[in-house]
Amino acid sequence: MILSFMILLPVVAALVVATLPGGDEERAGRARVVALATTLVEFVLGIWLWTQFDQTTSAFQFTENLPLFAPFLNWSLGIDGIALMLIELSVFLMPLCILASWVAVKKRVPEYMAAFLLMESLMIGTFAARDMFLFYLFFEGGLIPMFLIIGIWGGARRIYASYKFFLYTLLGSVLMLVAMLWMVNFAGSADIGVLSRTDFPKEAQFWLFLAFFASFAVKMPMWPVHTWLPDAHVEAPTAGSVILAGVLLKLGGYGFIRFSLPMFPDASAQLIWLVFGLSMVAVVYTSLVALVQQDMKKLIAYSSVAHMAFVTGGLFALNTQGIEGAMVMMLSHGLVSGALFLCVGVIYDRLHTREIGRYGGLADTMPKYALVLLFFTMASVGLPATSGFVAEFLVLLGMYQTSTWATFVLTTGIILGAAYMLWLYARVAYGKAAGDDTRAMPDLDAREIAILAPIILATLWMGIYPKSFQAPMKPAIAEVVARLEGRELATVPTDMTVSRTLAPALPAIAAPAHAAESHH
């Protein structure tokens, strides 16, 4: 019931917020309070979920199954470690987003808060869905609030950006829906657990993989379908960018690990070259593009594309280190890029421009801010002791076993990443202030520190003791890897060990044992 409650609570709160009585000012004030209270309750529930979570099993936990919408879909929920950590990320960022919009959003506050609460509900639902169509429902439903958030509260080119965001992602998703319909027709069940153990025919896997790829690659976003992201980020309000970078981009990676890898293991192995190729191009190309950006948000948006390429690279290393690294990268990127967008928001609220050239010398005039920005710049670059280092290290370690060349190219991405992030920092924080208005900007206030401090702590924690975050995910990832290797072995001549030859015949039963044998 806890998952249903976590999904439905924000919806109820959104309805309350949207129908509050009173004048404009009163409604705005109440909406802020209700939204913050709701997201804090969600956060507490999320922590409770973590403490109750059994870290030793890969099975879905907190399961619920109600045939509410039969025969189309069931209200079937449950989480494994992967879903748990992404839910934690969502509930952690959400109150911070509400706080970040506390004064920055002035028009139509109740509607804004309602849209964010709906967003939270849909995100938790996406990660908690155990029925494939329920997943699709939440996955696609997220488009509506995000469309409105960008379109109503965004910047100058908000309408163009909102359309681009909506239609791009919708087109990718409908291809996935066709594939889902075919799969459910083939397997006779829409349960994700059952589908993950179904052996789809090889030729079909190829096309199914591509259909899912179309959707997840757009969400991710991977080069060359990433172009919606900079537009959407630049035009979205600060909190919208945080949610977009922090959680929505994770939907693509989550989709790969939940669907593409376990359901189409043959096609995944067959199409490594495609994913690696796109990832390599993405890392180098978008890093170079990021170097020449004049707009801070655009720069961070392009850096997101580069970081997401690490995620796809790690996932398609198809081994434990790679996939774990990809997961940590998603969590780390959620924190760090979310925080970077918040940092941009802080100075945008003061000067109302995102142009890098309008800033400078902030290390003198806003020392606290400069320190925080430096921390997140370093985390983004992947300095040891921050979460970014753990993620990049694991991804490269995993990828090295699969392709040294791809690893080499991605490593250059780290160097380029350091270049554009440090250059950004130098232009913003060092040198001379661009004008009197820049010099007159006040330093961080208590609210802003309260928003950024928790993210700093989380980033450090993940960087120094990543085991807290990895432990819940290990069994689930081990199962994915077992599934992948079991399938790979099916094509290899079978003069291997006995337990391995058994694996393809009895994937469901043999998988955990097999994983334990080969990775510990």
Partner: protein
């Protein structure tokens, strides 16, 4: 009892509607000038409700009447419920508009009752001639309704255009009926089915007959390439009439089409009409989506939207399986709610000078001036665009599920891509309402009845409506099974 009385008892809704429409005519004539419209309208709603009640104690299974000309089964009962409900809504929603526009004549509900009678006959037709009678009975009052606002040139033009093209379509259909009669020796659907399944070689004559019948019926459902009348008639006809056209007649004609194709032409010949349907469905989905992008008039937009929706509904008919027919019926049900809801919102809004809204630009900033109506219209638009979790997604899901189960994967792919294009113009209306600044503040009609109907439709199309999926799909599955006697 004489068989004729048994037959009349079986055809309960039609009997009630026939007598009721005659009584309504009297009532309208003899009630006072000022309140004739209101009285007749309320009476008409009562008649429609009564016709619905007669469906309650209809015998289970398939019952034939009038020597097999007429059939009452779960399929016809399901569609009749939708038709009667849509007709009742169309009577009610027109009241404020008619009173205001000076066309407040009591013939409106009477003509609507007669057209409804024709539609109920259509969905119960088990014979090509009953079909034709029903179709014409539905069409003739519709021509008059299209021209109901007779002082207005556009309304007269719409009526004339609809009449000329409709008559042509009827002629084509009738020609198809004669061909089928000539090559099968019967006009009764189940007898034709027997002849068709007995044939070893493909009969070109029958095929021509099917093509002509399909053309005639494609006109009635406004499927491409027989859709040209739709935008003009929707634009010219009084808005409540356009609302009526977009709902009940579509349900009736789709039901009729399903029955004729599935019952009379099963087996091998199905592959032939499937090809035609695939073309019509794809053309409707794509043209409905692409042509709507350039529209500025809200009624024309909704006209193209209905063309596209008919295309999606026909995807459900294409496989010719029980699952497909069930999906078609589900589609029709949800579509009727979405389209009636959209038209209701349009009807509910007024420009400051009291004139009805016409262009999409009128809706600018509606979310600030009329937040509730804007929210309802946004629900209808997202629902028509087929974005989950709104209910409008699930009928699309159902028809494509049926298509994929029958191996029509390319059809599903094209359909989904068309739905993305269509999403663009539904989004445009949302953009105008939510992202743009208000130009002229619109007032509401203030009709409580219409407001309640909007609320009901919006609730049904919202995610809450998903709770209706289970019972609704159970009902459509039962109705669809009636077309496939074991």
């Amino acid at each position: 009892m004489h068989p004729i009385f048994t037959s009349i008892a079986i055809a309960g809704p039609e009997t009630v509607l026939t007598l009721g429409s005659l009584a309504a005519l009297m009532l309208g004539t003899f009630s006072g000038k000022g309140k004739a419209l209101t009285v007749t309208s309320l009476f008409a709603v009562a008649i429609l409700a009564l016709a619905g009640f007669t469906l309650l104690d209809a015998p289970a299974g398939i019952t034939r009447a009038f020597d097999g000309l007429y059939v009452a089964d779960d399929f016809s009962a399901f569609l009749k419920v939708i038709i009667l409900a849509a007709a009742a809504a169309s009577v009610l929603l027109a009241l404020p508009w008619l009173n205001e526009s000076g066309s407040g004549r009591f013939e409106y509900p009477v003509l609507l009752l007669l057209a409804t009678l024709g539609m109920t006959i259509m969905v119960s037709a088990n014979d090509l001639l009953t079909l034709y009678v029903g179709l014409e009975l539905a069409a003739l009052p519709s021509y008059v309704l299209a021209a109901f606002h007779r002082q207005d040139d556009r309304s007269a033009e719409a009526g004339l255009k609809y009449f000329v093209l409709g008559a042509l379509a009827s002629g084509i259909l009738l020609y198809g009926v004669t061909l089928i009669y000539g090559f099968s020796g019967s006009t009764q659907l189940d007898v034709i089915a027997g002849v068709v399944s007995g044939q070893t070689e493909r009969s070109i004559g029958l095929l021509f007959g099917i093509v002509f019948i399909l053309s005639g019926l494609a006109f009635k459902v406004s499927a491409v390439p027989f859709h040209m009348w739709t935008p003009d008639v929707y634009e010219g006809a009084p808005t409540p009439v356009a609302a009526f056209f977009s709902a009940a007649p579509k349900a009736a004609a789709l039901g009729l089409l399903a029955r004729v194709l599935v019952v009379a032409f099963p087996g091998k010949i199905a592959a032939d009409w499937q090809q035609i349907l695939i073309f019509i469905a794809i053309a409707s989905m794509v043209l409905g989506a692409v042509a709507a992008v350039a529209q500025t008039n809200i009624k024309r937009l909704l006209a193209y939207s209905s063309i596209a929706n008919i295309g999606f509904a026909l995807v459900g008919l294409t496989p010719g399986t029980p699952a497909g027919i069930s999906a078609l019926l589900f589609y029709v049900t949800v579509y009727v709610a979405m389209t009636l809801g959209s038209f209701l919102v349009v009807l509910q809004l007024r420009r400051p000078d009291g004139s009805p809204v016409e262009t999409m630009a009128d809706f600018a900033g509606l979310s600030k001036t009329q937040p509730k109506l804007a929210a309802a219209l946004a629900i209808f638009m997202f629902s028509l665009a087929g974005i989950p979790p709104l209910l409008g997604f699930w009928p699309k899901f159902a028809v494509f599920q049926a298509a994929i189960a029958s191996g029509l994967i390319a059809l599903a792919l094209i359909g989904f891509v068309a739905s993305v294009i269509a999403a663009f113009y539904y989004l445009r209306l949302i953009k105008i309402m939510y992202f743009d600044e208000p130009a002229v503040p619109l007032a509401t009609e203030g009709s409580a009845v219409n407001g309640a109907m909007i609320a009901a439709c919006a609730l049904f199309c919202s995610p809450i409506g998903m709770l209706a999926i289970s019972p609704l799909v159970a009902a459509t599955a039962r109705a669809a099974a009636a077309l496939f006697p074991a």
